[in-house]
């Protein structure tokens, strides 16, 4: 991996110097923001210090080697190329602004800098992943068992070629191992196409000027210094400094997430390369206009290359679930080996034969391991993922579902996620009042003031509805025009219902569209019957007010006095403080010398002052419906919602307040400053200390050290990050993770993908998100709705609870599987259970019911409790194991043993005869007498043994059904919980049918070591125990409910 990372190092743009790079080899890179970066690369959370295996440590260590190179990509890209003059640029890249690079130099540069393409950063080899699924986890110990069993078979085969027990066992083990391995691998395989989508974004050819000749060059061959010509519809082929622009507009949405096209110009408009208007980035689209640019970076050195490298290089945090499972596997493996070895050694010391104990050891090992557990977990998660997909939440990484349930922090985007990403008129000012138009109680005005405002808003607009949309609700109609005009038009159509008629009534004679110099837009209209022309104007409020000399208030036009002006400015501030974009409207009856025949011109040969002010409209991107409730739900569930947005702090805070991210009772420093009418810096430190909410703009964050950020993240309950850059988003995520939080992050742009990858849960937006962000994410919200995340969290918590139930169900049967082996050894009985029977139970009958527990509905409102603390609440805790093994497992064992002994007694061997019968039983003797002195041939004894095994097996299945029923709930009575889980009914039916099949199907049953047995004889003894299990657990749960902190809760509630 190191080799791959070293390459972009050479290409790094921040220290580009043609002389150095062409002649010398070494380039020294000094991170510009090194204080901020300190310690970030090793930001791993020491949550599970004890669960790390040696292999884990090893991987960590090798990762460290690349951490330094990774750091380079962590920084915000830094280049000065946008600040260079064109001459300097020309000199630096040895190019010509007219002729481009000489061909010969271009060829040399290509050799030097490599092809202009994104490299696949070494990902985990698929083969290794496959091996991991094949041999990792329980598979290792099962392969061990398989090897032992093959050895046993080959030894035994040389002596008794007719005994094939071990062969069947080997085959069954092999099938199980390959089956589970392939199953897991397939799930993982789907997850591995990240870099591919980066490649998809790369354009094919570009128009390049080299040596003064215009030619089409394959994008891969573009080198720094190349002169590129851009036209509408092109894809930018590398990072460019614009040197010529003809209203060039690019769509940067794939990089920054901003959906509005950005105008590109020649001169730097900002120090920040991301913000400046004279850079165009690799893979973005040219929307309109044209221009030329000099290539300043290619391939991995481009902005998108940085992000791609950073994203692929970031190790996603191992999910808490995976860690839990790892821990649990370790525990069970050690436990199984210890128990098996101990009992085997005991057997050997009792003078048992070596070979016999060898086979016995395999049996114990297999019986102690819940083979199907991992498959069950995978299946449960897959099912949950499917269920979530039906609720607009596509799951790309199954383990994420459960992680979502533990989320403490959601770092959410604003635009599109919390808000509708649709500018809407929210307030109107007229009649001396601010009206909330979106409020359901809003009533239309009736005054002239209101009518004039509406008229002005309808006329002074270039936006129109597309044709043939009468039947569509206004808000959904397609509009030609920019976002704010669209918003005004829709609002007017909603309020007046006659925009079209009004426009017809006042035909437009002349207009001046909005431009950034005037900051207003005006148009002139003539109503046929009127003897005057009407000028309507809208624009930036300050500019508009300046041009006004009168004001419309209710029915009257009054002169605009200074006091009135001041009032308007206050209104303006108030609207501005709500984070809304304000438009002011004014109109004017033009003097009579201006008639329809007058030649109006752009040079403004008509009065644009002395206007009549008619009102304000303020626009906002309103919160999505349901988000407020979702945020409230999150807070109730102990999850903090943090807004991370590129928007202005004021807008961000306003939305944060609207959706409840900042609760009404919590003040920010800005609130205090506003109340006191002082500036933020004047607020006294004590008050700053008392603030529980905070808005942190990106420019402030840039000045902080990593430590300060960590502190802030811990100190404030409610945080809004505004004006943040992608790298800062990553920093925020890491800061939260450092404090031990489980972080979910939403994002849509390419720039978000590192943060998405780094987060415990990356959530991408399905509608407006870029492919890259979707690939880096664990979840994709198909409806871009924040509320869906909350639904996901709920599902995650349910699945966690249900997985516990599944595991409890599956683990319980270990005891009745192991105890017969011990009895066989200690009491010298015939075999009570066989290894194959154990495998059929674990991987056959238990499988479906175990999975069906994933479908259980939640027992209580799981969103009313805080996220689980991984330090205290483990998936498989000691309580769960003890309860399964010592309580339910024991009950099952007794019940099944009752069935076994009773069956044997029915056929003549009372239990006292069975004790220590082993030597005779397996001898060649053809006449072993039973309790009735009847003599049994070897063949008959083996048949009876198979019947005994069948009886034990069937009885165990019956108790497992009981176990499945009690596992449905952890606290509620089954009567309260109900039996709505249809899958479980199917699962239990399957369990019954499969067990009946293996025991009663001719031929198959002999191969598997079973023999048909009288069902009645099996059921009679075990049914009381099955009922007892049920009753015992109901009593236990009743006590837990009555005494929620009592002994039973503390000792048996898992």
């Amino acid at each position: 991996m190191g080799k791959k990372y070293s390459k972009p190092k050479d290409q790094h743009r921040s220290s580009f110097n043609p002389d150095d790079t062409l002649e010398g080899e070494t380039i020294n890179i000094t991170p510009r923001h090194s204080p901020v970066q300190d310690g970030r690369s090793t930001a791993s959370r020491p949550l599970y210090p004890k669960s790390k295996s040696k292999a884990f440590h090893f991987r960590r260590a090798s990762k460290k080697a690349t951490a330094k190179t990774m750091d380079i990509y962590r920084q915000e890209i830094s280049t000065n190329d946008h600040k260079l003059s064109l001459e300097e640029l020309e000199f630096k890249y040895r190019t010509s602004l007219t002729e481009g690079l000489p061909r010969e130099l271009a060829a040399r540069m290509l050799v030097k800098y490599g092809r202009n393409e994104l490299e696949a950063v070494a990902t985990r080899s698929m083969f290794l992943v496959f091996l991991n699924y094949m041999f990792g986890g329980f598979a290792a110990i099962l392969w061990g068992s398989l090897a032992l069993s093959v050895i046993a078979f080959s030894i035994n085969y040389t002596i008794h070629p007719d005994q094939l027990d071990e062969m069947y066992l080997s085959i069954v083990l092999f099938v199980i191992l390959v089956g589970t391995g392939v199953f897991g691998f397939i799930q993982e395989y789907k997850n591995s196409k990240l870099i591919d989508s980066f490649k998809k974004m790369v354009p094919k050819t570009a128009t390049v000027i080299r040596g003064g000749v215009l030619s089409n060059v394959s994008v891969e061959e573009i080198v720094p210094g190349d002169l590129i010509r851009l036209e509408g519809g092109d894809v930018v082929p590398a990072d460019l400094r614009i040197i010529e622009s003809h209203s060039l507009k690019v769509d940067n949405s794939s990089i920054t997430g901003e959906s509005e096209p950005q105008t590109r110009c020649v001169n730097a408009t900002d120090d920040n390369p991301l913000e400046t208007g004279n850079l165009a980035f690799f893979s973005t689209n040219v929307i309109e206009g044209g221009g030329k640019g000099i290539v300043i970076a290619t391939g991995q050195a481009t902005l998108i290359g940085h992000i791609a490298t950073l994203t692929s290089g970031l190790a996603p945090e191992s999910t808490p679930m995976k860690q839990e499972v790892k821990r649990f596997i370790k525990f069970i493996t050690i436990y199984a080996i210890c128990v098996s070895s101990l009992v085997t050694i005991l057997g050997l010391s009792m003078g048992k034969e070596g070979f016999e104990m060898f086979i016995y050891f395999i049996g114990l090992l297999v019986a102690n391991i819940p083979e199907a557990l991992l498959v069950t977990i995978t299946a449960c998660l897959t099912l949950m993922a499917k269920r979530m997909s039906n609720k607009n939440c596509m799951v790309r990484n199954m383990h994420a579902v459960e992680t979502l349930g533990q989320t403490n922090v959601i770092c959410s985007d604003k635009t599109g996620t919390l808000t509708q990403n649709r500018m809407t008129v929210s307030h109107m000012y007229y009649d001396n009042n601010i009206f909330d138009v979106l409020s359901p109680t809003y009533v239309n005005g009736t005054t002239y003031n209101y009518l004039y405002l509406c008229r002005c808003a309808i006329l002074c607009s270039r936006a129109t509805f597309k044709e043939a949309q009468r039947t569509i609700p206004v808000m959904q109609r397609a509009v030609l025009g920019d976002a704010s005009e669209t918003a005004v038009l829709k609002c007017m159509e909603l309020l007046t219902r006659n925009t079209k008629k009004t426009r017809k009534e006042f035909p437009k004679i002349f207009e001046i569209p909005f431009n950034s110099a005037n900051k207003y837009q005006l148009s002139i209209h003539k109503r046929p019957n009127d003897d005057y022309l009407l000028l309507v104007l809208k624009g930036a409020p300050e500019r508009v007010i300046d041009r006004c000399s009168s004001v419309m208030i209710e029915e009257h036009e009054l002169p605009l006095l200074d006091s009135e002006r001041k009032r308007l400015v206050n209104i303006l501030m108030e609207l501005g403080y709500m984070g809304e974009r304000v438009l002011a409207f004014a109109d004017l009856k033009l003097p009579s010398e201006y008639t329809a025949d007058y030649e109006f011109s752009d040079m403004i040969n008509f009065p644009v002052t002395g206007l009549r002010f008619v009102g304000f409209m303020s626009l906002i991107d309103p919160p999505r419906p349901g988000v407020r409730e979702a945020v409230a739900k999150c807070k109730r569930a102990g999850i903090s919602v943090v807004m991370v947005t590129g928007d202005h702090p004021v807008t961000a805070m306003s939305i944060a307040r609207k959706v409840g991210i900042i609760s009404p009772e919590n003040d920010t420093v800005q609130d205090i400053a506003k109340r006191r009418k002082i500036s933020v810096s004047q607020v006294i430190p004590q008050e700053v200390q008392a603030c529980k909410a905070c808005v942190i703009p990106g420019y402030d964050m840039r000045k902080m050290t990593a430590g300060e950020l960590d502190e802030i993240v811990q100190r404030y309950e409610e945080l809004v990050f505004a004006r943040t850059s992608p790298q800062q988003k990553l920093q925020i995520v890491e800061a939260y993770q450092k404090t031990g939080k489980i972080v979910a992050v939403t994002g849509d742009g390419v720039n978000d993908s590192p943060a998405l990858k780094k987060a415990d849960i990356g959530i991408a937006m399905g509608i407006c998100g870029s492919d890259v962000s979707k690939d880096a994410a664990d979840l994709v919200l198909l409806d871009d709705n924040f509320a869906s995340i909350v639904m996901g969290i709920e599902e995650g918590r349910i699945i966690y609870d249900n997985l516990k139930k599944s595991i409890a169900y599956i683990l319980t049967s270990n005891i009745p599987e192991v105890v017969p082996f011990v009895i066989y050894l200690m009491l010298g009985t015939p075999r009570i259970i066989t290894v194959i029977a154990v495998l059929i139970l674990d991987v056959g009958t238990d499988l479906w019911p175990g999975i069906s527990l994933a479908y259980e509905p939640a027992e209580s409102d799981i969103m009313d409790r805080p996220p689980r603390d991984p330090k205290f609440d483990n998936l498989v805790g000691m309580k769960l194991i003890l309860f399964c093994y010592l309580n339910i497992g024991t009950l099952q064992t007794f019940g099944s043993l009752a069935s076994y002994f009773f069956t044997m007694a029915e056929y003549g061997f009372l239990w006292d005869r069975l004790i220590n019968i082993q030597d005779e039983w397996y001898s060649e003797s053809n006449a072993i007498y039973d309790s009735y002195n009847v003599e049994w041939t070897h063949e008959d004894r083996m048949t009876l043994e198979r019947m005994g095994v069948s009886a034990y097996f069937l009885a165990l299945v019956v108790t497992q059904i009981s176990d499945c029923l009690i596992s449905k709930t952890r606290r509620l009575s089954l009567a309260q919980h109900g039996f709505t889980n249809g899958v479980m009914i199917k699962g239990l039916l399957f369990e019954v049918l499969l067990s009946a099949f293996v025991v009663y199907c001719p031929y198959i049953n002999v191969k598997l070591g079973f023999h048909p047995v009288n069902c009645y004889v099996v059921m009679c003894p075990v049914l009381p125990f099955a009922v007892l299990i049920f009753i015992y657990d109901e009593i236990r749960k009743y006590i837990i409910r009555q005494n929620p902190d009592g002994w039973f809760y503390r000792n048996t509630y898992y």
Binding site: H160, A905, G908, N926, Y932, V934, E935, D1045, R1050
Partner: protein, 304 residues
Amino acid sequence: MTASPKFSKKGHRWGYNKEDGTYYGRDKRSWAKISLFYMVFYGMLAALVAICMWVFFQTLDPRIPKWQMEGSIIGTNPGLGFRPMPTDDNAESTLIWFEGSNKTNYVKWVDNLMGYLDKYYTPGKTEKGTASIRRCSYTHPPQRGQVCDFDVRLWEECSPDKFFNYHRNAPCIFLKLNRIYGWIPQFYNDPNDLPEEMPDQLKQHIRSVKPEERDTIWISCEGENPADIEYLGPIRYFPKVQGFPGYYYPFENTEGYLSPLVAVQFERPLAGIVINIECKAWAKNVKHSRADRTGSVHFELLID
């Protein structure tokens, strides 16, 4: 609650903890509580198991098996067995391999036989004398509740006093039919209606036997191959009526019941070679199956 059990919460803190005085995460009181719980829990469970088993065993008769004849696993075709059993260290072998010249060697086989025949030489010993034992004959079959003794003198040559002739390389092998509750043999008692495959020697023997003594399950032993027959040499059967007398049947688990035995003496088997021998029991309702080892039995003889 002063001390709360921290079993799962601090699962890693094993052993004694001085600070809060806990052993394996629990203090003494907590240990006492959980021990008490499991004692009561398992105690009640054990009681329940006992009650359960007692109830179920009430459904079983202590002397009459529930499943008999066709309903049972062993069915109606009795297994044929031989004694002495090859020794334990070679448990699955059917080879009787001894040295007539080596006393310690053949005494093992004799002891093996005697271990089995003990109850024939000291009848009633195992049944504590409560059994009603009498001498039976073909004309005097036992009454219900009575059992027949077995006259060991009928084995003549094959007696422990003569080391069952192992020392003379003319070993006696004892054959017996497995006991099947309620099984009544259907005898080949008509000399004119004997199966084809019955050895001629046996056919002749049946014809020579008194008609009332023909209610017998006949026994025949032969070398498996012509070579084996040659190596095996002459065979003698004890008692004189070559088989199990019919009056021992049916077996009804009466106290003191002894299975009838036939001693087969191979008078001059060839030494130094493994001889395959197959013995068969003959009755109309005995089928011969080597795989199930019912109705017939196979063993090998090797004399050094």
